[in-house]
């Protein structure tokens, strides 16, 4: 069978698995909702302050939620030997890894896209910034999955890789966080955000091309 069939078989398999492990998949989404809703309680009912913090709060929570879900990207495949079988496949591992990353985004990034605007309204984010918030999420949550895949494929062989994973991945998330939350904030002030959006598009395209390669190599190392 051809490479494209293999690619879609991987995406399809991971989506079926996600559906059968619904509880596990719901975790990051609940985490996201919880963190965002706790902020008003901690900060107090200061509307202006919340409104000013909203872009940052939403983006930091989204970033942490995605990080929480990263470990499941390769963990079960590593534990049950499916990863070995993928390595032995005659298809390039990079493409199969890209399939897994896309499935990961569909089950973690996409729900955030749906919930984030609701939470933004809840925090009092100005209406004119909602569109920009959605655009930044569409562009940047795939980046989180892509960059995360490198970190998680490096640490999947370690028994307690959680701490190292965050140390590896968080610094790489920082540019995304800066440009995305800044874009939302400026859109709230009614300014143009073309520059930030363009940079996010560039980051997305670069990570689609560049992230699966080191992730695949790191997986080969982790299996040995």
């Amino acid at each position: 069978m051809s490479l494209i069939t293999a690619f879609f078989a991987v995406v399809r398999r991971d989506l079926i698995l996600a559906f059968r492990r619904r509880a596990e998949i719901a975790n990051p989404v609940f985490f996201f909702i919880l963190v965002v809703t706790l902020f008003p309680l901690g900060v107090g009912a200061n509307t202006k302050l919340l409104q000013a913090m909203a872009p940052g709060v939403i983006w930091v929570s989204a970033l942490l939620a995605v990080m929480l879900s990263l470990d499941s990207l390769f963990r079960s495949d590593f534990d049950d030997g499916s990863l070995e079988q993928m390595l032995l496949s005659s298809h390039p591992l990079t493409i199969l890894v890209l399939g897994k990353i896309i499935a990961h985004w569909l089950v973690t990034g996409l729900p955030l896209l749906i919930i984030a605007p609701l939470l933004a309204v809840f925090l009092g984010l100005p209406e004119q910034a909602l569109g920009t918030l959605l655009i930044t999420l569409v562009l940047a949550t795939p980046v989180l999955s892509l960059i995360g895949s490198i970190g998680v494929s490096l640490t999947v062989g370690l028994r307690r890789g959680g701490m190292i994973l965050s140390l590896l991945v968080l610094p790489l998330y920082v540019p995304v966080l800066i440009f995305a939350s800044n874009a939302v904030e400026m859109a709230g002030n009614g300014q143009t955000v073309d520059a930030q959006i363009n940079i996010l598009i560039a980051i997305l395209l670069m990570s689609v091309v560049l992230a699966p390669l080191p992730a695949a190599s790191a997986l080969k190392m982790s299996v040995s």
């Binding site: 079988q85 032995l88 005659s90």
Partner: protein
């Protein structure tokens, strides 16, 4: 039935060494495997049987020596398209059904001589098509991972302890599948603590405990 011709394949290991934590597991290992041949790796626990198989699969780097497939080093040849591996881990997803698992294996590889239905029949898992793998017993999971060997196109089977958690009748069944594969021109490398009874087939044996 046999649409694939497996002639003129050769698998060769030259002067292979494996060192782990300053311990030499084996060194200077040489063997050649041609069509219709079986190699049984023996040795004590920790003598490097699994390490050797993992080196052959490309999961580990050898510390010295070459592995050659049809006169080309395996990294430059189509070796990985022609081999199939069943290791300690079954490589099946427990949340998926039997058929979903096999379809995935098929998508990662090239279709072989048997259809999924026929292969399940062969390993006595017929009727379990839509069962979730989690509900199968350990032996049945093992048979499922062996069914993968039948549905994909391959000439070399690399099997790490294929008889683990399989009952007596299952062992006979797997031996007959191996025999069929060998008669069709295939090759097998396996580790096992069981004695292997293959009808009219010569089994090469290498004891890794002695390869120092």
């Amino acid at each position: 039935m046999d649409s694939l011709t497996l002639e003129n394949r050769s698998f060769e290991v030259r002067n292979l060494s494996c060192i782990r934590d300053d311990r030499i597991l084996f060194e200077g290992l040489d063997f050649t495997l041609n069509n219709n041949q079986v190699l049984l790796l023996e040795g004590k626990n920790g003598s490097g049987k699994t390490s050797l198989l993992r080196i052959i699969c490309g999961f580990r780097e050898q510390d010295a020596g070459d592995i050659i497939w049809c006169n080309t080093p395996i990294k430059d040849s189509d070796f990985f398209a022609e081999m199939a591996y069943v290791g300690h881990l079954d490589g099946v997803k427990k949340e998926l059904t039997v058929v979903e698992n096999l379809k995935m294996s098929l998508a990662l590889s090239v279709a072989g001589n048997y259809s999924i239905e026929q292969a399940l029949d062969k390993v006595h898992l017929a009727g379990y098509d839509d069962s979730i793998v989690q509900s199968l017993s350990a032996g049945q999971k093992r048979r499922l991972s062996l069914a993968r060997l039948l549905i994909t196109r391959n000439s070399l089977w690399v099997l790490d302890e294929p008889f683990t958690s399989i009952d007596k009748e299952g062992i006979k069944l797997i031996e007959s599948l191996m025999h069929e594969h060998i008669c069709a021109g295939g090759m097998i490398i396996l580790t096992s603590h069981h004695d292997l009874y293959l009808h009219e087939t010569e089994v090469q044996k290498i004891n890794l405990s002695l390869c120092h």
